[in-house]
Symmetry: C2
Subunit: 340 residues, 2 copies
DNA sequence: GTTAGCACTCTTATTTATCGAGTGCTAAAA
DNA sequence: TTTTAGCACTCGATAAATAAGAGTGCTAAC
């Protein structure tokens, strides 16, 4: 069965009506908002065809039709008219995001907040990562006779710290040795190279000081690892409660959002914008949700992303341009902050 | 009406039964688990008295009785038999918490996790604060021509950082000036003294460099402020969904937990252990919840707290000793980590 | 190809009936 | 004076019956 122009019009109308109301849409109601003048029976026939083609489905025999994943996909790829953010909206977004200017984490937090508020969805964002970031600075600060804070700063501007315990007392010599090893072995090195292999050879080379020093370098390697795996920020997760169609899945969905790892993976794509509808998601917790992820560039290279998560009936026509706008805005502002 | 010994027995049995089952408890059911041999009619009379005295109430005319806030309070203060954690439980808690040994944040996270898991409640914890903490170290790290990270480390081992933008290019002189001012004005100073007043006089004294340098010191003051207001960690909030009696309040309860400020205030008390039942809470979002907060000491002085939040029908006899055990454990481990 | 008409399906809401746990009261027993 | 058996009554919870309504698919005529 081929896709006629009329079928397209009807499909678009069904999708848009369902997105707006959340109710399965029947042939009669469709008549009102469709400019083609045919009877409801004709619409019914067409809708039956669209159902057979896999674009629509019925919750139950005597209900209206609801778009399937395929239906949404077709709508987004072929039928949708992008609705660019209004001048007023753009201004207001810019103002909110600019409030976080200066500090990347704060900036992304603000961006997440404004997205969550504007879209009524949960917003996620990842901090800018420099894949090829290097160690810029490593510090050791004793805070007790056997405890010290280890601090790592990367060339991408990420700062990580962790306290660390040694079995032996920390002396000024310990500190000196730490800095010596750091400046010869760590400073300027790409984070990725600081792995267990490197550590082993390093510790071996420490000789009699191995026992004393190794905890600090292990911690430093931990930090390097942390700095590589991008942090995920989450905002407005309670917005999800307002979407009834998520039903009891909200709970496991929130549980899923709380652990950042899968989200980080989800957001590590490279396409400008990535839209996953319901079953298109690889994680089963997202099976009833849609995800729109828009990546931002910092200084010309792919760096992080902003995303929203909500029910499948998102207002794609509006939200896709929104996300693109916000992410490019964030990219620009971050580029200002983190110069090369 | 005076409180007889039999009334006490009955009240305790009602509270315990309700805590166990969550169902309003009737006179007949009470007979089984009460060792006094009287008829259900007698129990009924006594329960009516207890209701009149304000310790029990009925959800509706023909239902069993449920403890009131007053009832719980009386039970906890006068009737409850503490149930100390078993040897096995203590071991398992120690093991979990010890996994975070070394880093205070990680340690409290682990403690929160184990508490949440063991109690089925949401767990909150505050990081150790040193009220009289001083500035131990302040660093400036340029990350762009006009941007720098400012890093603050306190004597209590807290580390805070924030990026900061200046209107003028950052030169080696900028950095040098920063360190000069820091070592003369900030290092060793109590965090509390770094307020707007101090900043104003400082900026005034900078003379021609005021424009160049002030953003950095403003940021530094921000960080000092941050370091003073204790961070709140939250674990297991999704446990709250399992308690049906919280009903739709779960959502606003979670919303409430997410913003840390009120929680921080809630946990800033000084008593060893603090139990607030339902309406005893000053925040209306907690009106249907109970809170058990147990403070821990680091090196002999009050420093932070661990708490659980759940429905009013908590197993107080078990959880109060649990929280005391965990918080004292955490205090000891932190004392090891953060020595004076 | 399109449409009016109609019987049919299935959900949702509303009403009605039934059940049972638990109470309070009374009057007798201890 | 306290305790107890007995009983009528209340009221929520559950289930069954009923009604309303939206929407469909099919048929036959246009």
């Amino acid at each position: 069965m081929e896709m006629t122009e009329r079928k397209q019009k009807i499909l678009a109308a069904v999708v848009e009506s369902y997105i707006r109301t959340g109710e399965p849409v029947g042939s009669k109601n469709l008549l009102n908002e469709l400019d083609i003048s045919v009877s409801s029976a004709t619409i019914r026939n067409e809708m039956a065809d669209l159902a057979e083609m896999g674009y629509l489905e019925q919750p139950h025999t005597s209900a209206g039709r609801v778009p399937t994943t395929l239906g949404y996909r077709y709508y987004i790829d072929k039928l949708m008219n992008r609705l660019e953010p209004s001048e007023a909206d753009r201004k207001s977004i810019e103002k909110s995001v600019a409030a976080g200017r200066g500090d990347p984490e704060q900036l992304l937090e603000k961006a997440g907040e404004v997205i969550a508020k504007l879209t009524g969805c949960a917003a996620v964002s990842t901090m800018p990562t420099g894949d090829k970031a290097t160690v810029r600075r490593a510090e050791i600060v004793p805070v007790g006779s056997r405890t010290a804070m280890i601090v790592l700063l990367t060339s991408a501007g990420t700062l990580k710290s962790k306290a660390c315990r040694s079995d032996m007392p920390i002396t000024p010599h310990t500190v000196e040795r730490f800095y010596n090893v750091c400046s010869s072995q760590f400073i300027g090195k790409p984070l990725e190279e600081i792995g267990t292999v490197m550590l082993q050879t390093l510790v071996a080379s420490l000789g009699e000081h191995a026992l004393e020093m190794s905890p600090f370098f292990v911690t430093l390697a931990d930090l390097a690892n942390d700095a590589l795996s991008s942090d995920v920020l989450l905002e407005g997760q309670s917005n999800l409660f307002n979407h009834r169609e998520l039903g009891n899945n909200v709970i496991e969905l929130m549980e899923f959002l709380r652990k950042g790892d899968p989200i980080a993976k989800l957001m590590s794509g490279v396409k400008d914008i990535d839209i996953k509808i319901g079953s298109e998601n690889e994680y089963k917790q997202l099976a009833n949700s849609s995800v729109i992820i828009s990546h931002y560039d910092v200084n010309g290279s792919r760096s992080g992303a902003l995303g929203i998560i909500g029910p499948t009936r998102l207002n794609y026509a509006k939200l896709i341009p929104y996300m693109q706008f916000v992410s490019s805005l964030v990219g620009n502002m971050l580029s200002e902050t983190i110069e090369d």
